[in-house]
């Protein structure tokens, strides 16, 4: 499965990357505007904390700015940013309070993440994803929401592909159980 970000070439992006790599912050801001939603969404789903997700999003773009000259323009900027976001989020999650590290199967909700106008079904689903244990949620988010293959997701998470598949299976099972519980 291809990452969603790789759907369709974005001609202007390469030029913006080159300008940003040369030190043009305005070009980098345009890249931020284009990608911040998906990066923040990823950080929020991995950390389950809106404030931490904001920090992770900022760090992702700061790290990207520093590493931009090493970025190969043939690859997807979106995928590259997501790799950085995953690294930053997992690192911050490990350093964060033990409350966040604990398995969240029994109803730990996302803190401050969703707007009131979010459709109930989406909110329910996001809540169920947020309640998954870290490892299962990581695999599910990268594979099912962001469209990365098992191999890509495993590489981003620094785990074996088999482990990633197992985590995904576990995530789907837990998700069904939780949604079934809510339906009933």
């Amino acid at each position: 499965m291809q990452a969603q970000a790789e759907d369709g070439p974005v001609d202007w992006e390469g030029a913006l990357v080159q300008r940003a790599a040369a030190g043009d912050t305005r070009a980098f801001e345009r890249l931020y505007r284009e990608h911040s939603g998906r990066v923040y969404g990823l950080c929020l789903r991995l950390t389950r904390d809106a404030h931490l997700a904001e920090d992770c999003t900022q760090d992702t773009f700061i790290n990207a700015w520093k590493a931009l000259p090493n970025f190969q323009t043939r690859s997807s900027l979106s995928t590259w940013l997501h790799r950085i976001a995953v690294n930053v989020s997992l690192g911050k999650r490990r350093k964060a309070s033990p409350v966040l590290e604990a398995p969240a199967e029994d109803g730990v909700e996302l803190r401050g993440g969703w707007a009131l106008e979010t459709p109930v079904e989406v909110e329910e689903l996001e809540g169920a994803i947020g309640a998954l244990p870290d490892g299962a949620r990581d695999a599910l988010v990268l594979h099912a929401l962001y469209g990365y293959s098992h191999g890509e997701a495993a590489q981003m998470l620094g785990i074996a592909e088999g482990t990633c598949k197992a985590q995904l299976h576990r995530a789907r099972k837990l998700l069904r159980e939780r949604l079934n519980m809510e339906v009933n």
Binding site: R33, E54, I62, P69, E121, L125, A144, L179, N180, V183
Partner: protein, 190 residues
Amino acid sequence: MSGPEERKVRSLSELSAAIEPPRDLWPEIEARLKSAAGAAAPPAARARVAQLRWLAAAAMVASVAVGVWIGRDLGPLGARVTAPPAATSLTGMSEGAAVDAAYVSDPRYRHERAQLLKSLQAQLDAMPEPARAKVTASLASIETAKKDLESALGKDPSNALLQELLINTYQDEMRVLTDVHEASDPGRGI
């Protein structure tokens, strides 16, 4: 299992991957980039400035070296070995390459440099081959540094470091020209 919960699980891919941050994070990102100033500049830009700094330093070293060389190598001009006809071309010296830095556009500087350049070829012709080679290499090194710095300033005109390096390089060039001129003056030999 094929109930509504299964349908929801299957609809995971329909969830939007993007969630807009609750506030604009760019101002803080930009402030962090600026607060780190040079340190936060992309390595390519930092490497370019570092490269130019080395180039300017090399030009300065070359100018100092040529002064020492001339002092060591040249006696009074009259006693010098007759040099072969000029093989050195000074067409590489870019008279019109000066940027609008105050130092460079100063009429006294421009006049003095023009005078030194005018007599340079004759002075080089009168030099022993090793000294001429040394001076020519030094001036070529300075010329390269000037062109690269001017080119970099064209892209980043407000860069104070580049401006300073360029002025230093012009000063190095004047030092070499002056050294050559004084070494060629029988009354003033170094």
